[in-house]
Symmetry: C2
Subunit: 339 residues, 2 copies
């Protein structure tokens, strides 16, 4: 497995990104290669003082770039305007067959645009979707899409279900992941026209283990392994989860502190355990499913742990051949028009 890591992308780049790459050393063997893409001076300096064992150094390679895509740069324009940025260079490496996977905690839109432009879409795929792992109280749930397509046609939702099922299967070893469609009621008649049309496609598709619509309140109840929605709703939901969870824990911490120092200490221990068990960084990042390579998009706030885990997941997906499975399923699925 050869993975290109964007050393320049993310709120904590380059420090935490590089640290994550070093922590991944224990995962690397055989021909595995981590291409460190970004400012050559910074990376070489870090390499010379890094804590990686000497026998693992052969798994690291520096790819020096001169440009940086900022978080607020326009995705498509920045890819054209900054051909020597880490994101653009990484995606070109995949297109040239020099890397199997890319990882970035930088500008998500630019990653999506560059991946689509350089890696191209897998045969038959209409649009790629970002699949994020949502840690619920009953285990992880894959939500697709969380931001690549703000508007989704029924066909895209059908393909998100197929692709996310393959991902869930390969990542969590779930034989036939249960797929739900996010809507505002369980009945056929509920939802937008797109959702109603997609519901039929999901129901009729033998390759999808469709369990029906799911409402917002049931997302955390452990009834499904994959949730399909458009990227607008998915992105709002993902960020909402972050804000609400943090808010509840903060409010509770403030209240517990009022009780007594002892109770507050107990609470902190419990909160820490719960956070650890539901830590998004354990899952590394979210793959952009449907492109001709593995593209792991990490949270802008990613720390070393997230980067290390993204490398782990990228290796898992490259080795499991998830893209070959996606291509096969898309080819075997009921073909629908793009409308």
């Amino acid at each position: 497995m050869r993975v290109a890591v964007d050393v320049m992308g993310g709120d904590r780049a380059p420090g935490e990104i590089l640290k994550g790459c070093w922590q991944a050393a224990e995962l690397l063997s055989g021909d595995d290669m981590v291409h460190l893409v970004g400012d050559g001076a910074i990376i070489n300096d870090a390499l010379s003082t890094n804590p990686v064992p000497a026998n693992k150094l052969k798994h690291y390679n520096v790819v020096a770039t001169t440009q940086i895509i900022e978080m607020d740069d326009s995705p498509v324009e920045s890819i054209r305007a900054k051909p020597d940025s880490s994101i653009a260079v990484m995606c070109r490496m995949v297109s040239k067959g020099e890397a199997d996977a890319v990882i970035s905690a930088g500008n998500t839109g630019a990653c999506v645009a560059a991946s689509q432009l350089r890696m191209r879409l897998l045969p038959g795929v209409a649009r790629p979707g970002i699949a994020v792992v949502l840690p619920t109280f009953h285990g992880p749930v894959v939500v697709c899409d969380v931001g690549a397509q703000v508007i989704a046609k029924p066909k895209y939702l059908q393909q998100f279900a197929l692709m996310a099922s393959a991902y869930s299967h390969d990542l969590f070893n779930i034989e036939t992941p249960r797929v739900a469609l996010l809507s505002i009621g369980e009945e056929d008649a509920k939802g937008t026209g797109t959702v109603k049309e997609a519901r039929k496609l999901l129901r009729d598709e033998p390759l999808i283990n469709f369990i029906g619509n799911i409402e917002g309140k049931d997302v955390f109840k452990g009834t499904c392994d994959v949730i399909v929605c458009d990227g607008f709703v998915g992105n709002i939901l993902l960020k909402f989860t972050e804000g609400l969870s943090e808010g509840i824990f903060q409010t509770m911490a403030a209240e517990m502190e009022q009780e007594s120092a002892e109770v507050f200490e107990k609470f902190k221990g419990v909160a820490k355990r719960i956070w650890a068990r539901h830590d998004w960084q354990e899952h590394g990042g979210a793959p952009l499913l449907g492109v001709g390579g593995i593209c792991m998009i990490c949270h802008g706030r990613s720390e070393a742990k997230a980067i290390k885990n993204a490398i782990r997941v990228a290796k898992q997906l490259v080795n499991s051949g998830v893209n070959a499975k996606i291509t096969a399923r898309i080819a075997q699925s009921i073909q629908v028009t793009d409308e």
Copy 2:
């Protein structure tokens, strides 16, 4: 104020609904009248044994009906097929000038359909929107729409902002409520075409105190008083809030119980306090803004407290003349086409 209450609607009807009506006795004075709409035998029986002081009994009146709209009945069809259902009768009472407000914890779709059909829309209003109060850690936030319109045109979102601002003003005494548009990024370029178009309308409208787009993670940060979105996203978000909050508290309770009986007791006390402070039942229900009367839609799980508070809010809105304010603002606002 004359309010018609649907005694037959909701998971805990008729018991909790009637209990809520009795608890509202202390709020009733002058010409105030609560019309108890539903099964005559049940209501009269409850009236004869109810705990309302004798001097308040004059504020209650029985309106016997013979039909019931079930939770899973088709909204529009049931209104036509069941003209003597409590929901249909209540909305007719408003259209005939016999009531100012209706309250129901029953079939939401049927309430929306009957209100639109019987009360008609206020002059200039394109579509009504349901405005729910979301209790956040920094105070209440009004979210509109949470389910009346699964697809919203930019004009609807502009009007939701105007109507929800008037509601927030009258309910919470906020002079110029800060309005935000729910999207997937703060920038102009983020979101669907509808959201981008709506953003311009909200920004250019002098009657709206627009603070910009808001992302899912910032909903609970106290930066706005009103959030505007389409009913599909709003409904998913509302139910998601319920599911996630309950899940976090349940998970934490299970962990706290492992610690010690004493710690668990402390936690329960704290959790109870936090729930009480963020109890949706304190706000009674969600008005359907834009119709020619006050229509309060209550959660299907409503208990007596919610019904009592819905009566309180209905009285407040009737007395404040919120609909006259909405009509005036819609007339003064920048007129845009329906497309």
